[in-house]
């Protein structure tokens, strides 16, 4: 089912959690809401679910106004960061809950409920845990049960609030791939909230980057990574080198020295130069836009990460670059750096 959010405003006291947010989610999409804590992503999710109410704006699920209905009537599956499993019920009863509380007129008979719960437990590959209690499960198992429970009501949309936030790194990675393949299987429109960019880029079809109650950019994982729309997105997604520069016409200067790179249409004045660590080409001294002395090199896997103290800054500006290991860099070496890809954004304030 498609979801449409229009002009949502939500304030907590004087703090604007959501500031005029618009969002369209297509049917069957797997969308990530990505942002730092306090960016409003969870509030937006809770408003769509009906667990919070906006001060103004509209929410439509499948074309019909969702705000006129309470959370219990929206048929929205919600998965909480801390699972929120019913601690006094077995896994089986947790999953069956949504079916058992249906109005008598549409409630299914016991055999149908049992069969459906069994199917869902099979789907999350935890049928052998049916008679355990939540406290006897690991974090990853709990979250999968929480997902099965949310799917039991045949939700029109599935909302996941930091679903892997409380899990350790290894389980997180497994569950990510698992969620991805589960979505391919059941195709329910899903939105998940995360502050972990890697998670968002790896799992979602589309990523919505949020900051301070506003949407900064919406795009495919490739788009938000390769073509960040704002300085915030560039800084938040992927590791970036940020240098304060001055733009005058098409010339870019760092500490008063010209960098010999085009300004790419950035407005004149104070600006910030953003370069990905791996987009900084290392060459022999005197051949690039920047020059500096390597202070320290760490090599791991396919890359070597070098700390470079830029020349002309009295060694105060130190940047970290990732270089391929075709030529080993040495501490103390003077190198030149040339940004292969970069973006220049006007400095805020």
């Amino acid at each position: 089912m498609a979801i449409e959010v229009k002009n949502i405003v939500k304030r907590f006291g004087s703090f604007a959690a959501l500031d005029n947010v618009d969002l369209k989610v297509a049917d069957g999409e797997l969308l990530a809401l990505l942002g730092p804590s306090g960016s409003g992503k969870t509030t937006l999710l809770r408003i769509i679910a009906g667990l919070d109410w906006p001060d103004s704006g509209e929410v439509a699920i499948d074309g019909e106004n969702a705000l006129s209905r309470g959370a219990s009537e929206r048929q929205v599956g919600f998965v909480f960061q801390h699972y929120a499993l019913f601690r006094h019920m077995t896994v089986f009863e947790n999953v069956a809950f949504g079916l058992r509380v249906q109005p008598r007129a549409i409630r299914k008979d016991e055999a149908t409920i049992r069969a459906r719960v069994k199917n869902l437990l099979d789907l999350v590959q935890l049928d052998w845990l049916a008679n355990r209690y939540p406290s006897q499960l690991s974090g990853g198992q709990r979250q999968r049960i929480a997902l099965a429970r949310a799917l039991a009501i045949e939700p029109r949309i599935l909302l996941l609030d930091e679903p892997f936030g409380a899990l350790d790194a290894k389980v997180r990675k497994e569950l990510r791939q698992w969620l991805r393949s589960l979505h391919n299987e059941i195709h329910v429109t899903s939105i998940f909230v995360t502050h972990d960019q890697e998670e968002a880029l790896e799992v979602a079809n589309r990523v919505v980057v949020m900051d301070k109650g506003k949407i900064e950019q919406i795009g495919s994982p490739g788009e938000v990574y390769d073509n960040p729309a704002t300085a915030f997105v560039h800084g938040f997604i992927g590791e970036s080198i940020v240098l304060p520069v001055d733009v005058a016409g098409d010339a870019v200067r760092l500490d008063g020295r010209p960098l010999n790179i085009p300004a790419l249409g950035a407005a004149s004045g104070a600006a910030k130069l953003f370069v990905r660590r791996h987009d900084m080409a290392v060459g022999p001294a005197g051949t690039g836009a920047l020059e500096g002395a390597i202070r320290h090199v760490r090599s791991f896997g396919p890359i070597q990460r070098a700390e470079v103290a830029l020349a002309g800054s009295e060694g105060r500006t130190v940047i970290e670059i990732d270089a391929p290991r075709d030529r080993e860099l040495q501490a103390g070496e003077i190198v030149s750096l040339q940004p292969r890809r970069y973006r220049i954004f006007a400095a805020q304030e």
């Binding site: 679910a49 009906g50 667990l51 309470g70 959370a71 219990s72 009537e73 929206r74 048929q75 929205v76 599956g77 919600f78 909480f80 801390h82 929120a84 499993l85 019913f86 601690r87 006094h88 809950f97 949504g98 509380v101 249906q102 939540p134 406290s135 974090g139 709990r142 929480a146 429970r149 949310a150 039991a152 009501i153 409380a166 899990l167 090599s299 290991r325 080993e328």
Partner: protein, 320 residues
């Protein structure tokens, strides 16, 4: 090739570190010996006191408990049975005693039931919602604990007594509150109000609202959420509060004494009757009733211990 150079640099680094560590080990050696000298003189577990002190503290605690708790309890039962078992049961079978027992049970039933409902509602409001005046409400709940029971009783006399605010109206409509069951029940409800709410608030605050939110998002109505999710989660805490509330409701003296009017066979609860009989030198009868209250206390104590164990189990955090 490149890997080898990498290895070479790391070994040279190791070598340069080696002499440095040697020096650092050699230098503090004398200091180590000084430090070792101390534990020899006082070689004991630092987490406990020496034997004699331990003995004195434990003996003091036991002596205190014996004199102030166990001894009175023994005296109650000894006095109750001082004229034999027959006299004991005869005293309990007196119409006045039976009336007092019945009244006490009735008042306890009324006040515990009402406080159960009020307590759950108050705890629910405080732990699950944010609203202005919440802190004030929490303070207000504790008021009956901080006010002397006699004053709690007097409040109702001021409200419903003949000279009270509603006195003339009540008299005109022939409604009896003071010196009757309603007054005793009201005073008891007031005095015992905090027990259920106090037992539930921390428990419900700790459990948060997520399970309720989950239930609602799964389509449960408010009532279904309460009976299927909230209530099972708080049942042990609720029982705990009810238990303490009941013990206090049956044992309340001060507030009830003020509003009861001491009408024999009608408005005397068990604690009031104990005092009256004692003042009339009917020691066996007095202590027989008192022994019932003492037994209630013992049962409450055992039940409380069991419930506390259950509560600990219920609160076991479902660690991530």
């Amino acid at each position: 090739m490149s890997m080898q150079t990498g290895l070479a640099t790391s070994t040279t680094q190791l070598r340069t570190y080696a002499p440095a560590t040697d020096v650092s080990v050699a230098a503090p050696a004398p200091r180590l010996e000084i430090a070792r000298a101390e534990p020899v003189t006082a070689h004991r577990n630092p987490r406990t006191e020496p034997g004699p002190i331990r003995f004195i503290i434990i003996a003091l605690a036991i002596a205190f408990l014996s004199v102030f708790v166990v001894l009175p309890l023994v005296v109650v039962f000894a006095s109750a049975f001082s004229k034999g078992v027959v006299a004991y049961f005869a005293a309990l079978a007196e119409p006045e005693a039976l009336a007092a027992i019945k009244l006490t049970l009735l008042v306890a039933a009324i006040s515990v039931t009402l406080n159960l409902v009020f307590g759950v509602v108050a705890a629910w409001a405080i732990s699950k919602f944010e609203f202005a005046g919440k802190t004030f409400l929490i303070t207000l709940i504790d008021l009956p604990f901080s006010v002397s029971p006699v004053i709690s009783g007097l409040v109702f006399v001021l409200l419903f007594g003949a000279q009270g605010y509603f006195g003339s109206w009540l008299q005109a409509h022939n409604v009896h509150i003071l010196f009757a069951v309603p007054g005793i029940a009201l005073a008891t409800i007031f005095v015992t109000f905090p027990f259920v709410a106090r037992a539930l608030i921390p428990l419900m605050q700790e459990q948060g609202t997520q399970e309720e939110e989950a239930a609602i998002s799964l389509g449960a109505s408010g009532l279904q959420t309460f009976f299927r999710v909230t209530l099972p989660n708080i049942k042990w805490g609720l029982l705990y509060g009810v238990l303490l509330c009941n013990a206090r409701a049956m044992g309340e003296f001060g507030a009830v004494s003020v509003v009861s009017g001491h009408i024999r066979g009608e408005t005397n609860t068990m604690p009031l009757l104990v005092e009256i009989l004692y003042n009339e030198y009917q020691f066996v009868a007095s202590f027989a009733i008192a022994s019932l209250l003492a037994m209630l206390a013992l049962i409450t104590l055992v039940a409380k211990t069991i419930l506390e164990r259950r509560l600990d189990e219920a609160e076991v955090p479902d660690g991530d």
